[in-house]
């Protein structure tokens, strides 16, 4: 009986696999047909842009921000007549912040007919996907994959600063503005983003006359109690605590520092963006926290104002920096597509080649910087901005 059952299940499995295969076959056929018709009647054709990021699990905040920000940009572009006269379709897939799932998401998007990728949101999955896009010669721009190898291939670009750049920029900013000389660092050694920034910060700090009095690490498994790290920073006489971490942990650190009567200046990077929206967090604790971020939701320029109000109406939330990065990424894609005179009936590889050549020529006035340009390596060039939290709001410094 058991044998019969297992055989039946094996058969079912085989059938289901063929079913998956066959279900995709007509899809391919139909997309082929669509391609054919598109060459005849180009008005029906659309650009298919894919997005990948975590919308479930621990890093969901970033993925959701990117998804919403990009969707907003796509809607705006479509309302304004699309790219090169073609409408844009956007499809965002979940990767749970896992490299393997991210590759699955990428393959799913390929089946859907993606022509350019806006993703992935987090660094580790981004490196895995970048490998696949290079093999397929698919254009890729990551809004927030900040690790260096994310854009190692020439088909990949990014909107945010790389980790080492952020570390160096932070150290320079602190040094040049003479914010502090004795700095303690609390960082997440199990996180690529955090340790990447820390390493560069440490090497740059020496040039800026900053003394790192304590460098305390924590890991993803021990990110609830920071009293030991804070106590060490306090006894080392730190004037400033540098937090190259994400805001969830930072909110705990701020709360725990308050109970220890430890009140240095806290300085963070773009990961700290969003700290004011943490639930049950007393925002008065974040008073005076400085962070280096390319985007502040209360900036007075017209572009930001328009984006923030549109985002608030659509999603009932204040956008974070990730949403802004994604918004800029979509506009960068648009600019590159227009510059390269790309049409949807071109092959993925041709589109990529055209956009690659255009990316280094274009200049985008985005939310995260005016006149952003890209170089051959895929790094953006824009000014870092620092904001300070005053009266419970981000204020440009």
């Amino acid at each position: 009986m058991k044998k019969f059952l297992s055989l039946a299940m094996a058969a079912m499995m085989a059938v289901s696999m063929t079913a998956c295969g066959s279900s995709s076959a007509p899809k391919d056929a139909s997309s082929d047909a669509a391609d054919k018709t598109s060459t005849e009647a180009s008005s029906d054709a659309t650009f298919k842009i894919g997005g990948i990021g975590p919308i479930t699990g621990g890093a969901a905040v970033y993925g959701l921000g990117v998804m919403n920000g990009a969707q907003l940009a796509v809607d705006e572009i479509n309302a304004a007549g699309g790219i090169n006269g073609y409408q844009v379709e956007f499809n965002f897939q979940d990767d749970e912040h896992d490299a393997e799932k991210s590759v699955n998401a990428y393959n799913a998007l390929k089946d859907w007919g993606m022509q350019a990728l806006m993703g992935t949101v987090t660094s580790t999955p981004c490196i895995a996907v970048a490998d696949k896009t290079a093999a397929d010669n698919m254009f890729q721009i990551t809004p927030s994959g900040s690790a260096v190898p994310c854009i190692a291939n020439d088909n990949a670009f990014r909107v945010c600063f790389s980790d080492p750049d952020q570390g160096a920029a932070s150290a320079k900013y602190i040094g040049e503005n003479k914010l502090a000389t004795k700095v303690a660092v609390i960082y997440d050694s199990s996180d690529v983003y955090s340790s990447g920034i820390y390493e560069k910060f440490a090497s740059e700090a020496a040039n800026q006359g900053i003394e790192i009095v304590a460098a305390e690490a924590f890991t993803a498994d021990s990110k609830t109690d920071f009293s030991v790290q804070l106590q060490k920073a306090k006894s080392a006489g730190a004037e400033m605590v540098f937090l190259p971490i994400y805001y969830t942990e930072a909110s705990l650190i701020l709360a725990q520092a308050a109970t220890l009567d430890f009140a240095p200046t806290f300085f963070g990077c773009d990961g700290l963006d969003g700290i004011l929206n943490v639930e049950k967090f007393d925002t008065s604790l974040a008073e005076g926290v400085m962070l280096l971020t390319p985007f502040a939701a209360d900036s007075q320029d017209e572009l930001t104002q328009k984006f923030v109000s549109a985002y608030k109406t659509a999603y009932n939330e204040t956008p974070n920096q990730f949403a802004a990065d994604a918004y800029d990424a979509i506009y960068a894609i648009k600019a590159a597509m227009e510059d390269g005179a790309v049409t949807p009936d071109m092959s993925v590889s041709d589109i990529c080649d055209a956009m690659k050549a255009s990316m280094v020529k274009i200049s985008v006035d985005g939310l995260t910087g005016l006149g952003m340009t890209w170089n051959e390596s895929g790094e953006p060039s824009k000014q870092p901005k620092a904001v300070k939290i005053v009266n419970g709001a981000y204020t440009a410094m």
């Binding site: 059952l5 295969g21 899809k27 390493e199």
Partner: protein, 355 residues
């Protein structure tokens, strides 16, 4: 006549091999005719990885009867040692295929060694202690890998647990394991064919072990420890043997995993406690001690979340519900009864139809 003479166990093994080979042939045909979506193509190697993991864990849980919650830890050891080997040996052995072959051996050996190290003190204990210690082991491994910095330059290998700067690499040196950032740039060498070969090797090792004198001794220990001890079976030795083989095979799966993605990091998501539980779920759903069941459940549970992508936000919720439903269907006494009745009815009707 021959068929009747054939032992029941041999027949069962052949069915299992045939099942794997049949699926392989079907998939290859689909690949050749181009009727498989890229999503499915991308999933082929991960499925092989999970099948090997599930089958190897079944050796510990089903055949040896000990609960291991650190299987992902052994996978992690295998993945990192294998990927490390391929990176270090890049110049000495330029052929990727040959390097991967040795990497698999290295991964298996290192993971097996860790299995022995963990097993020696712990397998002497009775009850749930192994579960707790393997759980701790998995977490320890993950954390050790996260602070490990290994670099290579003209002088040789450098090791540090502080940061990449502390390696003091000479000019032209390369950081191979970069702490939390893991290993990047492992060659893409895992293929579906290789995965299937490794599954067949795994099945061959485990099914022959189970049907051998050693296997009977291991199962005797599972069924009644005191009785086994009283007939002179060396309990610790046999337990250790089964546990080490299980760990080594998990290491093989790890090497396969590492060479499928260009980035390898030890995150809670891929090598943590959750992954160990996931593998245990494969085993439990497939039936403890049932090798074929493990294979099938590993395939279904790996495919399911991906095939549910169309449901967007409800994906993980539906996945959980389907998992519960499948567990009930597979294991609840009432469901089994119902299933039996259905099958009986079906069989009787078929017989009547034949008559």
């Amino acid at each position: 006549m021959d068929n009747k003479k054939m032992k029941k166990t041999t027949k069962s093994s052949i069915i299992t091999y045939a099942m794997v080979i049949a699926v392989y042939i079907i998939v290859e045909i689909m690949l050749k005719t181009g009727s498989m979506s890229s999503l499915m193509q991308g999933l082929l190697v991960p499925i092989c990885v999970y099948i090997i993991l599930a089958v190897s864990l079944n050796l510990t849980v089903g055949i040896l009867g000990e609960l291991s919650l650190g299987h992902a830890g052994f996978m992690c050891v295998g993945a990192f040692s294998g990927a490390f080997f391929t990176k270090v040996m890049a110049e000495i052995i330029p052929n990727v295929g040959v390097r991967l072959f040795f990497a698999i051996l290295v991964g298996a050996a290192v993971a097996g060694l860790f299995g022995i190290i963990i097993g020696i003190p712990v397998l002497r204990l009775k009850g749930d202690y192994l579960a707790i210690v393997t759980l701790a082991f998995g977490e320890i491994i993950k954390n050790i890998v996260n602070v490990l910095y290994v670099g290579k330059d003209s002088v040789g290998l450098h090791l540090s647990t502080k940061d990449a700067v502390a390696l003091k690499l000479a000019e032209g040196g390369e950081v191979i394991i970069n702490g939390a950032q893991g290993i990047t740039g492992t060659p893409h060498a895992s293929t579906f064919t290789l995965g299937i070969i490794l599954i067949l090797v795994t099945l061959f090792i485990i099914m022959n072990l189970v049907n051998s004198r050693t296997g009977r001794a291991i199962m005797a220990i599972r069924d009644n420890l005191i009785a086994a001890e009283s007939v002179g079976i060396n309990i610790t030795q046999y337990k250790l043997l089964a546990f080490a083989i299980s760990a080594a095979l998990a290491g093989v799966a790890g090497v396969l995993y590492a060479h499928n993605l260009s980035t390898l990091t030890a995150l809670p998501k891929n090598f943590g406690y959750n992954m160990s539980i996931m593998i245990l779920v494969f085993v439990v759903l497939g039936g403890i001690g049932n090798i074929k069941g493990s294979i099938i459940s590993a395939v279904i549970l790996t495919l399911l979340p991906e095939l549910l992508r169309g449901l967007n936000n409800y994906r993980m919720l539906i996945y959980a519900i389907v998992l519960i439903a499948m567990m009930i269907f597979n294991s609840s006494p009432k469901a089994i009864e119902l299933r039996m009745r259905l099958v009986e009815k079906f069989c009787i009707r078929k017989k009547k139809g034949a008559a």
